[in-house]
């Protein structure tokens, strides 16, 4: 790794855009923008590369972070090609095993990314989404939300937020949020600070529904951990469950109709969170033997309760299916470990989970 970083650094040092590359590398490693030449000179490019590699972030994550940084710069049109080149160099020298996925990423960025002020033509999908937003009853609210997501501030003055067109904001928001999960989290944060939360929840749902088209990688389904409930928008008459792996090309519906803090509160009110987690673990991971509870303890504790609750949604498409699986697992667990979770308590947990989640299933 060290020798790779040195070669790479040497290669970069020979380039004209050495300072720009270094600033970008610095920003992606340290999470702040440094303009001071002395500070930049004091650190070797190879050190930054080693730091970047040791951060164990995937190339995909790094490239998204880089584009996010570039989008926030005044001279983004100048930095954009430097960032692109930097990613290619990283892929060649440091992350060669991830080249294939990177190619897809860069190609996707080239077609969809449209940095402000940079000469570009918009991707047809972005134009299509922009048109849908423009025709929506809440067009102005959507514009405000996208502006807030992109510029990190709330703006009520249409003279200001309309200076950024939807065609500009959509790709900016897409690349500032590497996953739909991150987008949903930030949407929810904005909503929580607003007065008209009901209307803006609908607006957020519209945004997520349309943005899901821009996140069509299967992995995003599995990465989706908080705040968002999704299901396949399949034939409404069919009750058959569609496995996630088979449905990556299906259009998806996303829901923002619950507060994860509230969900957690309802479920653990007067209940033991670790008992809830133990039960959820075996529902979510039937491959682990319940009899080896001692061995599985570490895994159970390393999962966060919020994540586990959302995974339940990912796993079960109907509330009946959820209830049935929870009940059978709870009874089996209680039979093996009555001192940890007796039948009465385990069914009480099942009832609480089902009661708390039922409204979310019913709102589909």
């Amino acid at each position: 790794m060290a020798s790779n970083a040195n070669c790479f650094a040497y290669d970069l040092e020979s380039e004209q855009e050495v300072i720009m590359s270094k600033k970008l590398l610095f920003a992606v490693c340290r999470d702040y923008w440094e303009n001071d030449q002395d500070t930049l000179c004091a650190i070797q490019t190879s050190e930054l590369l080693t730091e970047l590699h040791q951060s164990q972030r995937s190339l995909n994550e790094i490239s998204c972070h880089l584009y996010q940084i570039v989008n926030g710069l005044n001279k983004r049109e100048k930095y954009y090609p430097v960032a692109k080149k930097l990613i290619w160099k990283l892929s060649d020298e440091l992350y060669d095993s991830q080249i294939k996925s990177l190619q897809d990423q860069v190609s996707s960025c080239e077609t969809q990314q449209s940095p402000m002020n940079a000469p570009s033509t918009h991707h047809p999908l972005i134009l299509e989404i922009a048109k849908i937003f423009e025709q929506d009853d809440n067009a102005q609210r959507i514009h405000k939300m996208l502006f807030a997501l992109s510029q990190k501030c709330w703006e009520n003055n249409p003279d200001i937020f309309t200076k950024y067109s939807l065609e500009e904001l959509i790709p900016q928001v897409r690349y500032a949020h590497p996953t739909l999960e991150r987008l949903s989290i930030n949407l929810l944060k904005i909503i929580k600070g607003l007065n008209k939360q009901g209307i803006y929840t609908q607006v957020a749902q519209t945004i997520i529904r349309q943005f899901s088209k821009l996140y069509e990688q299967k992995n995003d389904l599995y990465k989706l951990r908080s705040f968002v409930k999704f299901s396949q928008e399949s034939d409404s008459k069919s009750t058959q469950t569609i496995p996630l792996a088979q449905s990556s090309k299906e259009p998806r519906k996303y829901y923002l109709n619950y507060n994860p803090y509230q969900l957690r509160q309802q479920i653990i009110h007067n209940r033991n969170p670790l008992r809830v987690k133990s039960l959820l673990f075996y529902v979510l991971h039937p491959e682990y033997e319940m009899e080896k509870q001692e061995e599985n303890n570490f895994l159970i504790q390393s999962d966060e309760l919020d994540d586990m609750l959302l995974q339940l949604f990912q796993k079960f498409t109907t509330v009946q299916e959820l209830q049935s699986q929870l009940e059978s697992t709870a009874l089996r667990f209680a039979a093996i470990y009555p001192n940890i979770l007796n039948v009465e308590d385990s069914l009480d947990i099942v009832q609480a989970i089902v009661a708390s989640m039922k409204p979310i299933y019913h709102s589909q």
Binding site: K152, C153, Y261, R264, P273, E304
Partner: protein, 323 residues
Amino acid sequence: MEVSNLLQAYAQGQIDFRQQNLPQSNFSGVNLFGINFSHTNLKGANFTFASLNQANFNYSHCQQTQFRGADLKQASFYQTNLGESDLHGALLQGANLTESILTLANLVDSNLMETHLAGVDFGEADLSGACLLGAVFQDASTRHPTQLKKAILQGTDLEGLSLKGVDLSEATLVEANAVNACFQTADLEGANLYQANLFATNFRNANLKRANLRNANLEQADLTGADLKEADLRGACLHQAQLFQVICNGANLSQVNLHQGKMREAQCQGTDFSQAHLSETNLRQANLAEANFSNANLNDADLRDANLNQTNWTNVKLDRVRF
């Protein structure tokens, strides 16, 4: 006393086991409802998944004790030493932890609803994912304010809680939900509040020196008299926030949204307001010496009687500004 003897005595109806010496004892999965372990040495004992509702641990020594998944509803830990204890996923609803020591304790995903936490020392404890709904941090009778110094409260729900005067210095509150919470006079020096939701939160006279408030939502927050020296607020939303007499010398407020903010008499010497949105902001009598307003929008702002000595006005928008 042997554990087997204790369990036998408990089964026969005895609940008073005060002043016992029971270090490293194993009580995992045992039901000891209402037991009295006050003044007892339980250092390193194992209570994993034990049922200890309404138990009394007052003044006992529970350092490095395992309470993982234990039921401790309405248990009492007054002045108990729980340093480095493991309370992961424990049910502590309604428990009294007043003046207890929980330094370096693991409270991840624990249920701390309606707990009494006045005077507790949570120094460097991990409370990630814990639920603190209805917890009480103040009590006039406690000798010390609650300590959350260096505590981890990432994603923790603090909505509506009163943390007045609490020491949260260097604490991690990344993405925490503290809408309508009260941090009045709290010590948040060096705390990380990155992307926290602090809508309408009260920070009056709080110490926020060197705090990280990047991208935080501080809309309508009250920061009157707060000390934000050298704090990082880049990209934060301070729309309609109250910043009367705030001290933000050397702070970074670039790209903040301070539209209709109230910064009268603020101390902003050397503050970076570059690219900030400050339209309709009240900066009367503010000290803005050496502040950087490059590329900022100050349209309709009120700068009357402000100290503008050596201020950087490069590319600033100043339409209808009152000087």
